[in-house]
Amino acid sequence: MNTSMKRRVFLKGSLAASAMGAAVGAGLLTPQAVLAAWPKAAFEAKKVEDTLSSLMGSAVTDASTDISIKAPDIAENGAVVPVTVSTSIAGVESIAILAEKNPAPLAASFDLGKGAQGFVSTRIKMGKTGDVIGVVKAGGKLYAARKGVKVTIGGCGG
């Protein structure tokens, strides 16, 4: 279930050099300040990079083995895929769950308040086989992990 990518991931369209990215990196902006309300643009973005840029202010993530994604290897029904993202990284501010191959990858985003732990579990829709990506924002930095989920199309039982 744990995935590991031992390299820094540079996603296209990264805003690391932008003012917003720098401000987030410097811890000057809290999640609440960056996201005034429901992150419309992030939910409408069609590519993972654009989703993260919009949602978290940056698409640059460090691959992390301290993020665990629990999701079935084979989803019985793509409409209901149980996903749990948990992390031992300290100071988690927010967690996002993306389904890379969905028309709009962002499924859910969680802002953690005081005392909240790095653990969220929900059930998401996946249109086809692909990676579930868990992104964790902590200390102004972004970390990510992936888990491949096979989505089968129903046959006679489906």
Binding site: A79, A107, G115, Q117
Partner: protein
């Protein structure tokens, strides 16, 4: 929409695990009905969890969360008998909330 949240909270020491199940269509807005007419988007956009006057968690959701959605999260600093409250709002102006005592 009343009575749409089923909620459970349990404490192990001061770590509280909350599990909830909401009744909601979570329509993406991209599906069509049998007559070919588009079914309007209708999904929970925000879920808030409160404990001891503190906003413990804010979840932002889109149509990519499953119908009759489930949510579980954990937080430090609670104990049996404390109240946890869950509220949601959706894109059509609907809302609901429910509370439970931590066991």
């Amino acid at each position: 929409m009343a009575n749409s949240i089923k909620l459970r909270a349990s404490a192990k020491g001061s770590e509280v695990t909350v599990k909830c199940l909401m009744t909601h269509a979570m329509e993406t807005g991209t599906r069509k009905d049998k007559a070919g007419k588009p079914i309007p988007a209708h999904y929970i956009t925000e879920v808030t969890a409160e404990h001891g006057g503190n906003k413990v968690l804010t979840a932002y959701w889109g149509g990519g969360v499953s119908k009759n959605p489930y949510l579980s999260f954990k937080f430090e600093g609670g104990k049996a008998g404390d109240e946890v409250k869950i509220s949601w709002v959706d894109n059509q102006g609907g809302s609901d909330s429910a509370s439970t005592q931590i066991k």
